[in-house]
Symmetry: C3
Subunit: 347 residues, 3 copies
Amino acid sequence: MQFTAQEISLLLNGTVEGDDAVTVDKLAKIEDGTTGSLSFLANPKYEQFLYTTDASVVIINNDQQLTAPVKATLIRVANAYSAFSILLERYNTIKLNKKGIEQPCFIHPSAQVGNDVYIGAFAYIGPGAKVGDNSKIYPNTYVADNVTIGKNATLFAGVKIYFDCVLGDNVIIHAGAVIGSDGFGFAPNPDGTYNKISQIGNVIIEDDVEIGANTTIDRATMGSTIIHKGVKIDNLVQIAHNAEVGSHTVIAGQAGISGSTKIGKNAVIGGQVGISGHLDIANGTQLSAQTGINSSITEEGKAWGGTPYMPFKDYLRAHAKLRKLPELDRKVYELEKLIEELRKGDH
Amino acid sequence: MQFTAQEISLLLNGTVEGDDAVTVDKLAKIEDGTTGSLSFLANPKYEQFLYTTDASVVIINNDQQLTAPVKATLIRVANAYSAFSILLERYNTIKLNKKGIEQPCFIHPSAQVGNDVYIGAFAYIGPGAKVGDNSKIYPNTYVADNVTIGKNATLFAGVKIYFDCVLGDNVIIHAGAVIGSDGFGFAPNPDGTYNKISQIGNVIIEDDVEIGANTTIDRATMGSTIIHKGVKIDNLVQIAHNAEVGSHTVIAGQAGISGSTKIGKNAVIGGQVGISGHLDIANGTQLSAQTGINSSITEEGKAWGGTPYMPFKDYLRAHAKLRKLPELDRKVYELEKLIEELRKGDH
Amino acid sequence: MQFTAQEISLLLNGTVEGDDAVTVDKLAKIEDGTTGSLSFLANPKYEQFLYTTDASVVIINNDQQLTAPVKATLIRVANAYSAFSILLERYNTIKLNKKGIEQPCFIHPSAQVGNDVYIGAFAYIGPGAKVGDNSKIYPNTYVADNVTIGKNATLFAGVKIYFDCVLGDNVIIHAGAVIGSDGFGFAPNPDGTYNKISQIGNVIIEDDVEIGANTTIDRATMGSTIIHKGVKIDNLVQIAHNAEVGSHTVIAGQAGISGSTKIGKNAVIGGQVGISGHLDIANGTQLSAQTGINSSITEEGKAWGGTPYMPFKDYLRAHAKLRKLPELDRKVYELEKLIEELRKGDH
C-alpha cells in the first residue's frame, strides 16, 4: 500500500513541509531510509541523519530546529516517537488483518465460533471449544475440546491448546507455543519405576497476555496454572504445573519456572533464569539473566543475581573477585609461610 | 458427566456417610472444593478444611476421626490418597478417550494402522509407517516414512517424528516435541565453512517413556539415539545425536544432553542442567538444577551441583562463601598489612 | 535398496578385494556391522574390528595393511573416510528424495512455486509467497504471506515462517522451528502495564544456513534480524529481534542471543550460553557451554567461560579454587587468630 505525505499527515494531525504528494510504502529507521520509506526523528543523537537520509518522508517534533537543508518531506507533530508508534501499529494491523475461514479446516459442530474471526487452513477447533469475536486462529493451530478463547485474541500458526484451557481477551500466542500439556508429575515406586500422576487441571490465561514462540505452559495437576492479566512471556520459556504468574510480570527467553511456584506482580525475570518449585517470589522482583532461585523471596522490588542467588550488587562484587580467587589463594599461602617464619622468630 | 456418591463409593469399595444421592461432576483440592466437586483428605495438615469445604463429597481414610460437624457426604476407604488417584486416572481416561479417524487426515496407502486407534484431522502417517492398536495420533501430528509406533501410545498435537524412528508401547509424547531431527554434525573446512555430516541413524524410544512438550531428540549419525524403558522427560529438553538415557531416569525441563553422552539408569537430572558430549554418567546420579557437567561421573548414586560441577554438599558450602568473597579479599589485604607491620617491628 | 560391492566400488572409484557380488542395504559403524551392512575403517584405532566385524563390505584406505584374515569384502579407495561420507550423503539424498504436491495442501493462487518441489500434505503457502526450485516443504509447515524461499531449501515438518521473511538457497530448517515471530518489545507505562511495540521488520536467512528443531528467531522491530551465510544453529536456540549472526558461526543447543546483539563470523557459541542485548561479539569468539556474556567482546578469536564471563583459562583456574573456598575461608580465620596472638606477644 502506498500513502502520500499528505494522507499520513492528516492521520497524525501534523503539518507537512515540502512535497506533500510524495509517496511512501514502507517504514524504516532514519539511518536505513531509502526512496519510498517513511522514518522519524525523536532522539537528538540521530539528528545528523535528518540531513543525509534517503527516506522520502520524515516525521519530526514540532520544535525540531533545522541546521542544514533536508531532502525529505517533513511532517511535524507534537511527539514524533508516539506518532511513529501509531503508524507502526496501523501498519501491523493491516499486515495481520486476516478474516474469514480458510478451507480445509476442522471446526467441530459443537464448537462456537464468534463473528469476524480468522480460522486458517488446517486449524482444528475441537468439540465444545469457543472462539470469541475478532479472534484469529492461524493455520495448523490446534484448539482442543472445551477450550475457551476470548475476543480479539491471536493464536499464530501451529499453537497447541490442550482441552479445558481458558484464554482471555486480546491474548497473543506465538507460533508453536503449547498451553495445557501435562504437568511433570510422577510418583516413584520402590522398584525405581514411576507411576504417572494424572493431570486433570487446566491453564488460565487472563486478558492482554502475550506468549512467545515455542513456550510451554503445563496444566495443573488439579486446579489451574494461572497467567494473570498483562503478563508478557518471551520464547522458549517453561512454566510448570500449578505455577502462577502475577499481573504485568515480564519473563525473558528460555527462563523456567518450576511447579507450584507463585511469581508476584510487576516482576522482571531475565533470560535463562531458573526458579525451583513451591516458592513465592515477591512483587516487583528483578532477576538478572541466568539467575538460579532456590528459596522464596519475600522482600518486594529487589534485584538479585547468581546461582544460588544473592542481592544483585553482592553478586556483581562477588563475581568480580571470583576471577582473582587463584591469586587470593596464593596470597593466603604466602601469608601462612610468613607467619610461620614470624612465629619461629618469636621463639 | 455426573456421578452420585453411591456410584463412586461402589467403584472404590468404600462406605458412604451422609447423602449418597448427592452428585459430583468435577475433582478439586479440598481447600478449593465447591458444590458439585469431589475432594479427598489424606494429609492430616489439611484436616481443618474437612469442616469448612464446600465440596459435595470428600473421600477420607477409614480411621479418620471427626472433631466437628461435616457438611459434605463422606466416602471412607482404606487409603484416601490412592482412591483419589484411581479417580484421577479414570477421569483422565474419559477425557482423553478419543477414537476413530477424523477427516481430512493423510494416511499413506502403505502405512499400517492398528485397531481402535485415534487419528486426528491433519495428522500425517507416511509411507511404510506403523501405528499399533489403541494408539492416539492427535491433530497436526507428523509421522514420517517407516516410523514404527507401538500399542497404547499417545502422540499429542503437532508432534513431529522423522523417518525410521521406533517408538514402543505406552509411549506418551506431548505437543510440539520433535523426534529424529538431524544431529548437529558438521565437518569444518580449512576456509572456515562447514560440510554437513549426513545423519542416517534413528531414535529408539522404548516402552513407557513420556516426553514433554517441545522437547527435541536428534537422530544418531549412524546407529541410534536411545531412550530406554520408563524414562520421563520434561518440556523443552534437548537430547543430541547418539545420546543414550538409561531406564527410569527422569530429566527436568530445559536440560540439555550433548552428543554421544550416556546417562545411566534411575538418574535424576534437574532443570536447565547441561551435560557435555561423549561422557558417561553413572546410574542413580542426581544433578541439581543448572548444574554443568564437563567430565564423566563414575560413582553411582551421588548428588552434584555447580558449573563446573562438584559434590552437592561442597557446592552448597562453596557458594555460601561466594557472597562473602569480597570480605575475604579485604581480610587478606588487612592481614598482609598487619604482617608487614609485624615484620618491620621484628627488625 | 540393495547394492553389490561391485556397484559401490564403481561409484567410489575403488578396487574390490573378495566377493564383488555380495550385497549391502544399510550403513553401520565397523563395530556394529551385521550381515548386509557396509562399513569403513579410517581410524587405525579401530583396526581390530576389521578382523571381527560381521559387516558384508568394508571400505578401507589403499595403504591399509592386513595383519589377519578378513571375512568381509573390502573396497580399497584413496580416502576411506571421505568415500564413506559420499555414501552417507547419497543415502540421505535417496531417503529424503521427496517430490510432488501432496493433497490436501494449501497453496494460495498468488503464491509462486518453482519446479521439482515437494509440498507435503497440510503445508500452507500463503499469498505472495515464493518457493524456489527443488525446495521441499514438509507436511504441516506454514509459509506466511510474501515469504521468499530460495532453491534447494528444506523446511521439515511443522516449521512456521511468519510473513515477509526471506530464506536463501540450500537453507535447511528442522521441524518445529519458528522464524519471524514478534520481537519481545514492550514499552512500560507509569501504572506498571506494558504497551506492545509493533514488530514490522523481518528475518533474513542467507544461503547454506541450517537451523535446528524448535529453534526460534524473532523478526526485527524495524529492519531485519539477519543470519548470515553458512551459519549452523542447533535445537531450541533463541535469537531475539534485530540480532545478527556472522557467516559460518556455529551455535549449540539452547543458547540464547538477546535483542540487537551482533555476533561476528566464525564464532563458536556453546550450549546454553546466554548473551545480553545490544552487544558486539568479535569474529572467531569461542564461548564454552553455559557462559553468560554481559558486555561486548572486541578481541577476536579468544575463548571465554563463566557467568559473568572471563578468559577461559582464568575461568578453569578460578572455578577449580571455588570448591576450596570454605577451606580458604577457614585458613584466613586461623591466620587472623595467629596474627592477633603475635601482635599481643609484641606488646
